[in-house]
């Protein structure tokens, strides 16, 4: 089971002076159980792409298949199936805390499941479960107003609201923007847990190469609406020119190791994380001695 994009293209404001081709023949497959990152410069089409994954936008050309179902199906039967397929894909937008609207946290989280017709005991179960998943104690928080929380907590409520839909695939558009280092790390750990323990298939948009290297098992790099690379982060980050063309920087550690190599220190320059990077430097230093 997977999400499959086939030659997807999308144009904003077609046939006007503002016409803009935001996606150009993008094809890839997201396997169930994978952890995929999407990166690219501003305006490269990341958000547009991500909105195709749960049918908020329909491709102008091409197809999006979720577990084999075409999201843009037009027959009556097809539309029903597409609706069910869309529900499998949970979507967390940028700054999701700005979309909170209910008076209590529990009510806000209940919005999604209620739309699916879930009620009573099961609804409560879902709220409780998704709050605890996001590290919000149910009894303490359920009756509080979401507007009284700190920025990081609000974001957790918003994500819990999506998790309560029991998605199979979870898509996050820059989930850590604006948080301080501590809050960022805590959220990343939570996402990791969702992937490992709860077996969610994760897609996330990020500008942070270190996070991508650390978390994702594959990365899609967008460049002016086209998919430039889809590969494992290790491999993708080796293609320095392509990265630069897409307006990205290689991870800081990799950059450092490249610089060291240029300076004549024979480091093994494929480490991205801190520990492995330091190990590589140490090895190079002891070799030199």
């Amino acid at each position: 089971m997977s999400i499959e994009l086939k030659q997807v293209s999308y144009t904003y404001m077609p046939k006007t002076p503002y016409e803009h081709k935001a996606l150009d023949a993008v094809s890839f497959t997201l396997e169930e159980g994978s952890f995929t990152a999407i990166a690219g410069h501003t305006g490269s089409g990341k958000s547009t792409l991500v909105q195709h994954l749960n049918g908020l936008l329909h491709p102008e050309n091409g197809q999006v298949l979720v577990d084999g179902t075409d999201l843009a199906a037009s027959s009556k039967q097809g539309r029903k199936e597409a609706m069910a397929a869309r529900n499998k894909v949970g979507m967390v937008f940028q700054y999701p805390e700005q979309q909170l609207f209910e008076e209590t946290i529990a009510a806000d989280i209940a919005f999604g499941p209620k739309n699916q017709g879930i009620e009573g005991k099961e609804l409560e179960e879902r709220i409780k479960e998704s709050m605890e998943l996001m590290g919000l104690a149910y009894d303490e928080f359920k009756d509080r107003s979401p507007f009284q929380l700190s920025g990081g907590q609000k974001r957790r409520v918003a994500i819990a609201g999506v998790l309560a839909l029991h998605p199979k695939y979870l898509v996050l558009d820059e989930p850590t923007a604006g948080l301080d280092p501590l809050g960022r790390e805590a959220l990343i750990q939570t996402i990791c847990k969702l992937h490992k323990k709860w077996k969610l298939t994760i897609v996330f948009v990020s500008h942070n190469m270190e996070d991508i290297a650390r978390l994702a098992d594959s990365v899609i790099i967008m460049n002016h609406g086209k998919m430039a690379i889809k590969a494992a982060p290790q491999e993708a980050f080796m293609q320095t020119e392509l990265l630069q063309a897409a307006g990205l920087q290689e991870p800081a550690m990799l950059h450092l190791l490249h610089r060291l190599r240029e300076a004549g220190i024979p480091v093994n320059d494929n480490a991205i994380e801190l520990e492995t990077g330091i190990k590589a430097i140490r090895e190079a230093l002891s070799d030199a001695e």
Partner: protein, 282 residues
């Protein structure tokens, strides 16, 4: 000579109500003319509150805030202060006022009551300084985040400010936009000697400053050059903050017995130090 001085500054939100909150708590700090000061701290540590005092957008609950020797509580002098100090805020969308870029840059000088030709000259110059002349007739919503922030900076420059206070100007931007804004700010600092107060969550950005102030629960928890501040890697982590990669790597290497000099915070320095180290050991 110090340009900004806080003496025992305290600020309480909702004073006297049950949700009273002391955001700044007896802060003493002075910032030199022509310096580049970065302010770091966790969410809610009082950074933005502090920034708003420099421009008299907030007044001290107690204590004094002096800008270029003028007290922000003195209403006659407040307008002088606001002419001298420009502000750039976090959300680029909520600080552009006019529906055309050049009109927005002109907003400040217009408030000062300058002659139309003078305003025109200042606007053109400010747009040039941030490299946005090409976009002067654009509507703000057609610009990217980084471009909007540069317009906000131009808007402050057009008032001939001597000091720029930037409150997380790069929080909503991508890496390119971030680099772009930081480059613009550094250029203004170096070429025009503008005093910079730069609030950020990104340690790499703080590393280019002359001085770093750490805020913690409304107080200055630490204050020094980036070298001094980022040398204390465990201390920074304990505060929930981070250090630039080069600082972290050199700290770890030193801990593992590799003798590198102290105070490495940039990649260039680290590469140089390691080069020297290998030459030495050969």
């Amino acid at each position: 000579m110090s340009f900004i001085e806080f003496h025992d500054l305290t600020h309480c939100y909702n004073l006297g109500q049950k949700n009273e909150h002391r955001a700044i708590d007896g802060l003493d700090l002075s910032i030199e003319k022509g310096s580049f000061t970065a302010i770091l701290g966790q969410n809610g540590s009082g950074k933005s509150t502090l920034a708003k005092h420099i421009n008299g957008l907030l007044l001290p609950t107690s204590g004094i805030c002096l800008v270029d020797g003028k007290d922000t509580r003195n209403l006659e002098e407040l307008w002088q202060i606001r002419r001298q100090v420009g502000m750039v805020f976090q959300n680029p969308d909520n600080q552009l006022i006019a529906a055309v870029v050049e009109d927005d840059v002109a907003f400040g000088p217009e408030n000062l009551g300058l002659e139309p030709q003078v305003i025109r000259a200042k606007v053109d110059e400010a747009l040039k300084a941030v490299n946005m002349t090409k976009y002067k007739n654009f509507a703000p919503h057609l610009l990217s985040g980084g471009q909007k922030q540069r317009i906000a900076i131009a808007g402050a420059l057009a008032m001939d400010t001597e000091c720029l206070v930037l409150d997380e100007p790069t929080a909503m931007l991508d890496p390119q936009g971030r680099a772009e804004v930081l480059r613009t700010v550094r250029k203004l600092h170096e070429e025009r000697g503008i005093t910079i107060v730069y609030i950020t969550h990104f340690m790499e950005e703080a590393a280019v400053a002359d001085r770093v102030v750490l805020m913690d629960s409304g107080r200055a928890a630490a204050d020094g050059t980036p070298r001094e501040i980022f040398a204390d890697v465990p201390g920074m982590k304990k505060r929930g903050l981070d250090v630039p990669l080069a600082a972290e790597v050199s700290w770890q290497l030193r801990r593992q017995g590799i003798k590198l000099p102290d105070g490495i915070i940039t990649e260039d320095e680290l590469v140089e130090a390691l080069e020297a180290y290998t030459c030495q050991s050969n």
